[in-house]
């Protein structure tokens, strides 16, 4: 496989306020993040040559790339919508980077957006298909919850120890989210609160589940060699990886529910392209797909942040807190920042971009000397994973 390391750079980003945006339409959310990104990059809408959209669902069917052209009055440029479950935004961004690296375009935009709060339902993903096959009244928490009991069993954790371990992830992410003005939830919680919260899909309680939010995030991408014409501190794409498992994990014979091929392979490819040998040591921060706390725990191990079965020790030691060896989800993650599906991947990049520039919105949550950051979304049943790694220097 080839590499596009250091070939493209982000020169501007925007992110809407996430949350229950009863006031805002899909188009309003696009406008909010896009105009922040235009201003940040110092470009005008007419400078954008192509647009890559990440959008999973829409309040109504049949929403194509036109949602962006309608909102931003883009005239006569290609707008490509990508739908890949929760990785939609990530993959739209990777498509944007590949387009620039190919030489087809110089300056493009990637935007992710989702409007979940118009559906009238507070959760995500009930009902998957037009036939009963594989249709088990499956919700996202019910589906990801399947990892929990199996993980506890595999590594000898009692239900209580297991619940407590993942509850600590929720406490950490709430602590991080409390410092983020754009996050959906900005409250701190205690371990007791997390442990005693109502059960959504056992073993997952309320605080093990991410916010179901509206929001949008946007990136302006250009050639790395032209990036400094836009700004002095562009952020470079170091590597990416996208991987999909070949069959639904639920029906895959022999699957152990702790080691996900898509996670392992997508991170490995991204590390290879970025030249990372030891992610635990080399990464300065990571934004990973904590749709549920158990997912974040699984990612620690599948991404090589923690040895297999040892995530609990790292969690107990605070390794993934802002002060720890590898801060994870410094903006509160999906848990607190919220999870408007198509927007999430690009929202993570917004956090990494700002951290790598030393421009975190509140100084108390700025990671010192951050040089290399990872973003990641994990999508579908879960079956597909997308990773991107960014750095603030070439080379």
């Amino acid at each position: 496989m080839g590499s596009i390391k250091d070939k493209v750079a982000i020169v501007g980003m925007g992110c809407s306020k996430f949350g229950e945006r009863w006031d805002a339409s899909l188009e309003d959310l696009v406008i909010e993040s896009a105009y922040e990104a235009f201003a940040d990059a110092g470009v005008r809408p007419e400078d954008i040559e192509a647009c890559y959209l990440g959008l999973l669902t829409a309040p109504t069917g049949g929403t194509g790339g036109t949602v962006v052209s309608n909102a931003l009055k883009f005239k006569d440029i290609p707008i490509l919508r990508n739908e890949n479950w929760c990785a939609s935004g990530h993959i739209a961004m990777i498509e944007a980077c590949l387009a620039v690296a190919s030489g087809a375009f110089d300056t493009v935009m990637a935007v992710g957006v989702e409007k979940l709060k118009d559906t009238g339902f507070p959760g995500l993903g009930t009902g998957r298909g037009m036939t009963p096959v594989l249709e088990a009244r499956r919700t996202s928490p019910g589906s990801f919850g399947l990892i929990g009991k199996r993980y506890f069993e595999t590594y000898g954790l009692s239900d209580k120890e297991g619940k407590e371990t993942i509850a600590k992830i929720a406490v950490k992410n709430h602590d991080n989210g409390s410092l983020c003005p754009k996050a959906h939830f900005q409250n701190r919680i205690t371990l007791e609160q997390a442990m005693n919260a109502p059960i959504i899909a056992w073993p997952l309680g309320l605080f093990d589940c991410c916010g179901n939010s509206d929001g949008s995030a946007c990136a302006i991408v250009t050639r790395a060699d032209a990036a400094k014409n836009f700004r002095p501190d562009p952020v470079y794409l170091k590597g990416f990886g996208i991987s999909m498992d070949a069959v639904l994990p639920h029906v895959r014979p022999g699957f152990d529910w702790t080691r996900f091929g898509s996670l392992i392979n997508s991170s490995r490819r991204a590390y290879e392209m970025a030249g990372i040998k030891n992610p635990r040591e080399e990464l300065d921060l990571a934004e990973v797909h904590d749709c549920f706390t158990i997912t974040e725990l699984t990612i620690y191990e599948n991404f090589g942040f923690s040895p297999w079965g040892k995530a609990k020790a790292d969690i107990d030691n605070g390794f993934f807190t802002r002060e720890g060896g590898l801060p994870v989800n410094t903006d509160g993650g999906l848990k607190c920042f919220g999870h408007p599906v198509g927007a999430s991947g690009i929202r993570m990049m917004y956090e990494v971009y700002k951290q790598l520039q030393g421009k975190a919105d509140k100084p108390e949550r700025q990671i010192k000397n951050a040089r290399l950051g990872l973003t990641h979304t994990f999508g579908g049943p879960p079956q597909l994973s997308a990773v991107a790694i960014f750095g603030n220097e070439k080379g």
Partner: protein, 479 residues
């Protein structure tokens, strides 16, 4: 010689103590408990269960079954055959007889007689007869306490018989005593004394007497009189009037612990009688409904051959109590609980039809190259990538163990909110992913043994949708 090859009943796991119903209305209870179909069960799913139970002990391959009859007054469709669905789910062949029998509590014995006729005349070598009912009585009515839900199946054939068919007698009596109009939800009935005296007792008496006379027999010659009745007292009176000894000759009407299961009741009681029968026993089976049917069977030396099927005793013993009358009303759709999260994508009749081998026949693909078994069917093998090179293998009837699970409180019905999402490691190495039913969610554990059961899964697009679920393995025998 034509007769019964094998038999099997099905009583839903849920029971409601009749005191619970009575207390809700400030009435007296008639005592005992009644069976209640779960909210994911109906006459079709119960018939599937009974039929699968009936086939457990037969030497016949499913492909060797000549046809399937289904009798019920509560088929899910007014127009559309149910026996085709039941036959498909049982994975029977396609070149078979299927017919639905309906509209009378006598349709169960009617289907049985039709099967005996079709088989006896050599038109088919055997026929599987199923009967199931889930009748709704008016809330607060006596019938609400008496009625039960259940099913039974009998395989009729000419070889390996458990009981031979010795004769029948039928009486047609036009009477409006118990009925239901197309627009009615609940069973209606005329004044009780008229219904029981001029309808039920007169009809059953005439039919039983007629059969005995026709076969030149006396009441004392009968080993067991199987007399399904709408209540225990009427049953006692009838048996006494016909001269059967209450202690030795009368089959338990199952009112106390199951209830009156309509069309299915004669065949459920027949199954119970066969479970206790000895070679040479004469069994007299009668059924009422605008007149009555009476049939005579003689038990053969083949009795006792059914060793692995689920006995009535096992159904009596293994149950889950429904402690809420409100929930009973909601399960039957009489009360409308707050809806759960609806399915956004409505089912498609086309897609359901196209995927019937996986979703109805419960077929998995077994790769001819590497042997991997995957459910549902995968055209390209996950393991070795061979394309369209697999055999279809049937998953229903297999057991498995819970590999992992979650208890999803978000997506269930509001009257049964906790959905047990389950990944099952099946005994053939495949994985089944689905909902666990008929279980206590709090008691689910890893490695718990489960089996597959065919259930109604959701409503949408104006037709009924069924799929497989898993449930804790029922322990066999008569504990």
């Amino acid at each position: 010689m034509v007769g019964i090859v094998s038999y099997g009943a099905y009583i839903p796991a849920l029971r409601i103590d009749r005191n619970v119903i009575a207390e809700a209305w400030g009435r007296n209870a008639i005592g005992g408990e009644r069976s209640v179909a779960n909210h994911d069960e109906d006459s079709i799913t119960m018939a599937v269960e009974a039929a699968a139970n009936c086939l457990l002990d037969t030497v016949l391959e499913r492909e060797g079954i000549g046809g399937l009859y289904f009798a019920s007054t509560t088929a899910p469709y007014q127009e559309k055959m149910s026996s085709t669905l039941i036959a498909t789910v049982l994975d029977l062949g396609r070149e078979i007889e299927t017919t639905d029998f309906a509209n009378s509590l006598r349709s169960g014995t009617g289907a049985l007689k039709a099967a005996l006729g079709m088989t006896g005349c050599g038109s088919t070598k055997n026929l599987l007869v199923t009967a199931a009912d889930q009748r709704l009585a008016y809330p607060r009515s006596d019938q609400e306490q008496v009625f039960g839900d259940g099913a039974a199946a009998v395989l009729v054939g000419t070889e390996n018989l458990t009981a031979t068919f010795e004769g029948s007698y039928a009486l047609c009596e036009e009477i409006v005593d118990v009925w239901r109009n197309p627009e009615d939800r609940y069973v209606k009935s005329w004044e009780n004394r008229f219904v029981l005296e001029e309808g039920f007792t007169a009809g059953m008496t005439a039919a039983v007497s007629g059969l005995l006379k026709k076969c030149n027999l006396k009441a004392a010659d009968i080993a067991k009189a199987i007399l399904p009745a709408p209540d225990a007292r009427t049953h006692r009176t009838l048996a006494q009037k016909l001269g059967f000894d209450a202690k030795t000759q009368v089959q338990d009407p199952l009112i106390t612990n199951v209830g009156y299961c309509g069309t299915a009741q004669p065949l459920i009681m027949l199954a119970a009688a066969l479970e206790a029968a000895k070679p040479g026993d004469l069994l007299l089976l009668a059924a009422y409904g605008e007149g009555a049917d009476a049939l005579l069977f003689k038990v053969t030396d083949g009795i006792g051959r059914q060793t692995s099927h689920r006995s009535l005793q096992s159904f009596f013993a293994q149950k889950r109590m429904l402690t809420s009358y409100t929930r009973y009303l909601s399960y039957r759709g009489i009360l409308e609980a707050a809806p759960g999260e609806p399915f956004r994508l409505f089912p498609s009749a086309t897609t359901s039809w196209r995927e019937r081998k996986s979703s109805l026949r419960c077929h998995a693909s077994k790769c001819r190259q590497c042997g991997l078994v995957t459910y549902p069917i995968q055209r390209v093998c996950y393991q070795c990538r061979s394309k369209d090179d697999f055999d279809e293998v049937r998953m229903s009837g297999l057991t498995g163990k819970v590999f992992t699970f979650s208890l999803d409180n978000l997506a269930g019905r509001s009257d049964d909110p906790s959905i047990v999402q389950t990944v099952v490691e099946m005994e053939n190495g495949s994985r089944f992913y689905g909902i666990m039913t008929d279980c206590d969610p709090a008691s689910v554990t890893l490695n718990m043994p489960v089996e597959l059961t065919f259930r109604r899964i959701y409503e949408g697009a104006g037709f009924h949708n069924y799929f497989w679920k898993c449930r804790p393995v029922w322990k066999g025998g008569t504990e």
